[in-house]
Amino acid sequence: MGFKTFIQGWPVYRQLTGTDPLGRGAAAQSARSAELAPRTETADGMARSVCPYCAVGCGQRVFHSDGKVTQIEGDPDSPISRGRLCPKGSASKSLVTSPLRQTKVRYRRPYATEWEDLDLDVALDMIADRILAARAETWEDVDDEGRPLNRTLGISSLGGATLDNEENYLIKKLFTAMGALQIENQARI
C-alpha cells in the first residue's frame, strides 16, 4: 500500500481535499460501502405497478429477484406522485412479503373450535356445491304478479374496492348470471 493510497484511506484527508467538505458523502465512504450497490440495480426485473392502498394511484416500481419482491419504490416518472410514497405505500414490500400472509386454504367446519386444512380444488368444488344449493333453496322465478325476478336473495357478497377492474367485471358478470343480486363493495360504505 503506497502512501497515497494510505492517506486517501483516511476520511479526514478526503474531507479536507475532496469535493465533500461536510463529510457526508464520498469522504465518509469505507472500502466496504464503496462496493455496495442498491438491490434495485441487481434485480432480475422491475414491474411498473400502482400502490394498493388509497385511491391517489401513486406509481410504484416493484423490483424482484429469484421470484421474490426485493424492493418497492415510488415511480419518479408518475405525473401523479412524482416518485413519492406515503408511510403505507413505502411499507408495500412489507405488506406483500409479510410473514403473516396466509398462503394455505383454511377451513372451519360448523361448530368447530379450530381451523383445519383443505385443498384449494376441494374448497372450490365445495363452494360451488353450496352456491347451487343456496340458489335451489332460495330461488325466486317471478313476483306475485308473474313478472320475472330471476334471482336468489340467499347469497351475498361484499368487496371489490381493492380489486382490479377486470376482477370486478368477472365477479359482477358471474353473480348476475347466477341471479345473485346482493353484491356490494366499499363504495356503498
Binding site: G45, G57, P79, R84, A112, N150, N165, L174, T176, N185
Partner: protein
C-alpha cells in the same frame, strides 16, 4: 388530505407555493390543518350550514360569475308555483308524505312541467339507491323550461336559492357549526375572490362528507358554490372526491353494487323494467338531450358481452335472464337479513366488515348466522375469525361450539402478484404489471371467479332448469396461461373496452356502440381503453416528456378526458375565459375544439350550433351546453328531480345529535333510511327526551399509518409499530370535566356497544360554543380489531345504522356517546352496561324514532321502513303539505 392522501396533498402544497390560500374544515386539527393558511374547527354534521352560509354570501353580495351562471346553469329557470320551500314549511319541502317518509317531486318541477315528475314518493327510489344510478347523468327534464334571463322572476332558481339560504348568515353559521364569524367570513371572501375569469378555486372532500344521513346534499351544496363561482370544468377548479381504496372508483364504474350494472346502467327493477324496451327507455328518456340518448346501444352491447352468441336482437339480448330488484338489497339490509336467518352464503372479497362497517356487532352476529362464508384476503382478518375471537365470544353471544357458520378462508394474490387495472380517484386507469407469482394457494380474484364459473357450469351442464340457462349461456371463454391456468386480464380488459362481434376488432370509442348486436361492450364508459388494439392504461410516458395534463400516462374515462365538462373552460363563444385559465377552446379556422385536454364536447360542433326543432340525444345539445350528460346540458343549482331529499340542500342535524336543529322544527333528514330492527337502536336526539344520556359527539377517521379496517396495515410490522394502539383524542376541557388522564384509559358507550381506548388529551380538539352551549367532540381512529400485530376495540362498533336516502351510505362520521374514565367491563357485565344506558335513554325494542318533528307536514306519523314489503310503501299518498 395530508393524513389520508399524503401524496395527493403535495399538489395542494404546490398550489400554496404559487399563492393559493388553503382552508381546512375539520372537527379535529390534523396535519392538513397544520399546513393550511386557515383552519376552521366544525361541529361534525353541520357542513351544509357552513356551505349554505357561503352560498348566501355569494348571492347577497352578487359575487357569482354571472356570465357563466347565465349561460351554463339553470339559474334562470322558473320553478312551479306549487313549490314550497323549507323556509316556509319548517324544514320540509312541498310534497312530503309522512306515511312513506319520502317526497313526491311534482311540485319541484319547472313551471308547466309538474306532470313530468317521475318520482311519486313511494320510497322505492330510495330503496334502490337510485341517486347513485344517476351519478353520471341527470334525471329527465324537459330541454325547454321557461327562463328569465334577468334573474328577477321571484320563482326563478336564482331567487329561490337566495331566499332558501337567506337565514344562513354568519351569525347562524357560528350558532350551528361553532365557527367564529370572522373565520367564516375569511373563508367566504377568499373563495369568492379566487374565482371568476382569471382565477379558480377547488373543493376537496372525502368520506367526511359522504358518510352522513344527508351526505349527498353536502356535496350538492359544494356543487352549488362551485357552479355559482364558475369553478366547474375549468383548470384549478372542480370538486375533487378523494376516494380511499385503490380501485374504489373502478368498483363503482364496473360496479360490484346491487343497483348498478357497468357504466352506470341501472340493475332492472321488477315493476319498472319488465321488458328490455322499458329498461332502456328509463335510461335514455326518449326525446331528451344529451349522451344518454344512445343508451340502447350501451345496454344491448353489455348484454351481448354477457351472453355472447345467445344474445340476439330477437330475444332482446337475453334481457330476460337479468335478476330484478324489488327494493333495498344493500349491504346493511343484507346484514339484518343475515341476523334474521334469510341469507345462506356470504362472500367477503378483500373487505373486513367486522371492523370496517357500521355497527360491528350486527355485522358479526350476522356472519355467525350463515350456512357458509367465503373470505378471500391476504391476511387472517376479524371477519374470518368472528366465531372464535370476537367481542361477542367474550360476552357469550357467540359460542364457537354453537355457531353453525362454515368458513372457507382462501388466500388472495397481492397487487404485485397479478396484472390488471386500478381506476384511481380521478377516473384514471393504470395497468399494473405482474412482478412475481402468488405464494402457495394464493390466487387472484380473476382466477377464483373464472374457475368458480367454470366449475358451476360443468356441474350444471346437464341441467334443464330454466334458472340455469343464464349461467349455461354465459360468454365465459377466457384464455388462460401458466401452471394454475390464470385467466388473461388483458382479454377481460378487451371485453370491457368492447369489440366488433364479427371481427373481434377492439372499439376505439363508445360512439361505435351499436344496438343491433354487432358490438359487445363490457363497460361503455371504458370504451377506448383498448383503442387501436393497444392497452392504453399501460402507457407510462414520463411526466418529464409531456405537458402538465400528462395525457399519455394511463387512460382516463371517458375518452381519456382528464377534466370533465371542460367545454365550460371556454366562454359561450368558445373563447377561453382568460389567458391565464385557458384549457379547451374553439379553433374557428380548423373548425374544431382544441386545447390541452381532450375536449368534453363533440369535436366539430361550433359554439353557435343551435339544435333543430324536435332534436333529441346529443344532437339536441347546443354549442354552448357544456354539461353534456345532463338532461338539459346545464349545471343544476336546483335539482327538480334526482335528489330524493330535496331540490336544494338544507341543514338537518345528524340522526344522533345532542342539539335541537337551530334552523328548523324538522330535526333530521325526514327521508333518511332507517331500520327498525331490535339490534339497531338509535340514541335519542331532541326533541325526544333523554338525549343527555349520550351527551358527547364522536367522529372517526383514518391515521396516516393505517388503512381502513386494518387488514393491510395492522398486519404490517412497520405500520403496526408506528401506530400500535387504539386511542381516543379528547380536549383538555373534556378530560377535566370527565376525569380522564392523559395516557390512561377511557371507555365510550353508545346504544349499541361499549369500547375502550387509551386517552390522548390534546388541544387538537376544542370545545365548541354552539347555540349558547358548549359541545364536546371526541375523535377515534377506526382501524382496530382483534387480529393482526396490534389490536384494540373497533370504533365502528359504536355506530348504529342510518343511511343517506340517495345512495344508502351509512352515517358513520358522527354519532353520540358517553365517555367514562377507566377500562370497560368484560364478559356479560359489558352487556349489562349497554343495557343500563338503553334503559336510561328509554331505547326500548318497540320505540319508534320520530321522522317528522314539525307540525308543518300536516301529520305526526312516524314513518317507518319503506321497504316495498311494508304495507306503507304501497300507499302513494297525496302530498300532505
Amino acid at each position: 388530505m395530508a393524513e389520508a392522501h399524503p401524496v395527493g396533498f403535495q399538489w395542494v402544497m404546490e398550489a400554496k407555493k404559487r399563492g393559493a390560500k388553503v382552508f381546512h374544515v375539520d372537527p379535529r386539527f390534523t396535519r392538513t390543518s397544520a399546513l393550511a393558511d386557515t383552519y376552521l374547527p366544525i361541529r361534525a354534521g353541520t357542513d351544509i350550514a357552513l356551505l349554505g352560509g357561503v352560498v348566501r354570501y355569494i348571492l347577497e353580495n352578487e359575487l357569482d360569475f354571472r356570465e357563466y351562471v347565465l349561460a351554463y346553469t339553470n339559474a334562470a329557470n322558473i320553478v312551479s308555483e306549487q313549490f314550497v320551500d323549507t323556509e316556509d314549511l319548517d324544514g320540509l319541502f312541498s310534497g312530503y308524505n309522512p306515511d312513506t317518509g319520502s317526497y313526491d317531486h311534482a311540485s319541484w318541477q319547472y313551471e308547466g312541467q309538474e306532470d313530468n315528475a317521475k318520482i311519486r314518493g313511494t320510497g322505492k327510489e330510495r330503496d334502490s339507491a337510485s341517486g347513485l344510478e344517476h351519478e353520471s347523468h341527470g334525471e329527465p327534464v324537459p330541454a325547454q323550461a321557461p327562463r328569465d334571463e334577468t334573474l328577477q322572476h321571484p320563482r326563478c332558481v336564482y331567487q329561490i336559492l337566495k331566499r332558501h339560504f337567506s337565514r344562513y348568515t354568519p351569525e347562524m353559521v357560528a350558532r350551528v357549526c361553532g365557527i367564529p364569524e370572522e373565520k367564516f367570513l375569511e373563508l367566504a371572501r377568499a373563495w369568492t375572490e379566487n374565482s371568476g375569469r382569471e382565477r379558480t378555486g377547488a373543493l376537496v372532500y372525502s368520506v367526511g362528507w359522504t358518510q352522513h344521513s344527508v351526505g349527498v346534499q353536502y356535496i350538492r351544496t359544494g356543487s352549488i358554490i362551485q357552479t355559482l363561482l364558475g369553478n366547474m370544468g375549468r383548470p384549478g377548479g372542480g370538486i375533487l372526491a378523494l376516494r380511499g381504496h385503490a380501485s374504489i372508483q373502478g368498483s363503482t364504474d364496473i360496479p360490484t353494487l346491487f343497483n348498478l350494472l357497468p357504466g352506470y346502467l341501472p340493475m332492472p327493477h321488477h315493476a319498472d323494467h319488465p321488458t328490455f324496451d322499458e329498461w332502456v327507455d328509463s335510461i335514455r328518456h326518449p326525446g331528451q338531450k344529451g349522451f344518454w340518448g344512445n343508451s340502447r346501444a350501451f345496454a344491448a352491447s353489455l348484454l351481448k358481452a354477457y351472453w355472447g352468441d345467445a344474445a340476439t336482437p330477437e330475444n332482446d339480448f337475453c334481457y330476460g335472464y337479468m335478476p330484478r330488484m324489488t327494493g333495498d338489497h344493500g349491504t346493511y339490509q343484507q346484514v339484518l337479513n343475515m341476523i334474521d336467518g334469510r341469507v345462506k352464503g356470504y362472500f367477503l372479497l378483500g373487505q373486513n366488515p367486522a371492523v370496517g362497517s357500521a355497527h360491528g356487532r350486527a355485522q358479526r352476529l350476522g356472519m355467525a348466522n350463515l350456512d357458509w362464508l367465503v373470505v378471500r384476503d391476504l391476511f387472517m382478518i376479524e371477519s374470518a375469525t368472528f366465531w372464535k375471537n370476537s367481542p361477542e365470544v367474550a360476552t357469550g353471544e357467540i359460542v364457537p361450539e354453537e355457531c353453525r357458520t362454515e368458513v372457507f378462508f382462501l388466500p388472495a394474490a397481492s397487487h404485485v402478484e397479478k396484472e390488471g387495472t386500478f381506476t384511481q380517484t380521478q377516473r384514471l386507469l393504470q395497468w399494473r404489471e405482474k412482478a412475481v407469482d402468488p405464494p402457495g394457494d394464493a390466487r387472484s380474484e380473476l382466477w377464483f371467479f373464472y374457475h368458480l364459473g367454470r366449475v358451476l357450469r360443468e356441474k350444471l351442464a346437464a341441467s334443464t332448469e330454466r334458472r340455469d340457462r343464464a349461467l349455461l349461456d354465459l360468454a365465459w371463454d377466457y384464455p388462460t396461461h401458466g401452471p394454475h391456468a390464470e385467466p388473461s386480464a388483458e382479454a377481460v380488459l378487451k371485453e370491457i373496452n368492447g369489440y366488433e362481434v364479427a371481427t373481434g376488432r377492439p372499439l376505439n370509442a363508445f360512439g361505435e356502440a351499436r344496438d343491433d348486436g354487432s358490438t359487445a361492450i363490457g363497460c361503455w364508459i371504458y370504451s377506448g381503453v383498448y383503442a387501436d388494439g393497444v392497452n392504453q392504461a399501460a402507457r407510462r410516458r414520463s411526466r418529464h416528456e409531456q405537458d402538465w395534463v400528462a395525457a399519455e400516462w394511463g387512460w382516463a374515462w371517458p375518452a381519456n378526458r382528464r377534466t370533465l365538462y371542460n367545454r365550460a373552460s371556454a366562454d359561450p363563444d368558445g373563447r377561453p375565459w382568460s389567458e391565464r385559465k385557458k384549457y379547451v377552446w374553439w379553433d374557428a379556422d380548423a373548425g374544431e375544439w382544441t386545447g390541452y385536454d381532450v375536449p368534453d364536447f363533440e369535436k366539430t360542433k361550433p359554439p353557435s350550433y343551435r339544435p333543430p326543432e324536435g332534436a333529441s340525444g346529443p344532437a339536441a345539445l347546443a354549442g354552448d351546453d357544456p354539461f353534456v350528460m345532463q338532461g338539459d346540458g346545464k349545471a343544476w343549482l336546483y335539482a327538480p328531480s334526482g335528489v330524493l331529499d330535496g331540490p336544494l340542500p338544507t341543514h338537518y342535524e345528524p340522526a344522533e345529535s345532542p342539539m335541537r336543529n337551530p334552523l328548523y322544527g324538522q330535526q333530521a333528514n325526514p327521508t333518511r333510511k332507517i331500520y327498525e330492527h331490535p339490534i339497531n337502536r338509535m340514541n335519542p336526539s331532541p326533541p325526544e327526551p333523554h338525549s343527555q344520556v349520550f351527551p358527547y359527539v364522536f367522529t372517526v377517521s383514518r391515521l396516516t399509518e393505517h388503512h381502513t379496517a386494518g387488514g393491510m396495515s395492522r398486519t404490517v410490522s412497520r405500520l403496526a409499530e408506528l401506530q400500535p394502539e387504539m386511542f381516543v383524542e379528547v380536549s383538555p376541557e373534556l378530560a377535566g370535566e370527565v376525569g380522564l388522564a392523559h395516557l390512561g384509559w377511557a371507555h365510550l358507550i353508545s346504544g349499541r356497544a361499549v369500547i375502550e381506548a387509551r386517552v390522548l388529551v390534546t388541544d387538537r380538539l376544542t370545545p365548541l360554543r354552539v347555540d349558547g352551549r358548549i359541545i364536546h367532540q371526541v375523535w377515534l381512529p377506526y382501524h382496530f380489531g382483534t387480529e393482526g400485530l396490534v389490536t384494540g376495540d373497533s370504533a365502528n362498533d359504536l355506530f348504529g345504522i342510518t343511511l343517506d336516502p340517495n345512495v344508502l351510505i351509512q352515517e358513520s362520521k358522527v354519532g353520540t356517546c358517553d365517555i367514562r374514565p377507566g377500562r370497560r367491563p368484560t364478559g356479560p357485565p359489558l352487556l349489562d352496561l349497554v343495557g343500563d344506558y338503553q334503559r336510561r335513554a328509554a331505547m326500548t325494542a318497540d320505540r319508534k324514532v320520530p321522522m317528522v318533528t314539525t307540525d308543518a307536514a300536516g301529520g305526526d306519523d312516524a314513518a317507518g321502513s319503506t321497504d316495498e314489503q311494508s304495507p306503507a310503501a304501497h300507499q302513494d299518498g297525496e302530498p300532505h303539505a
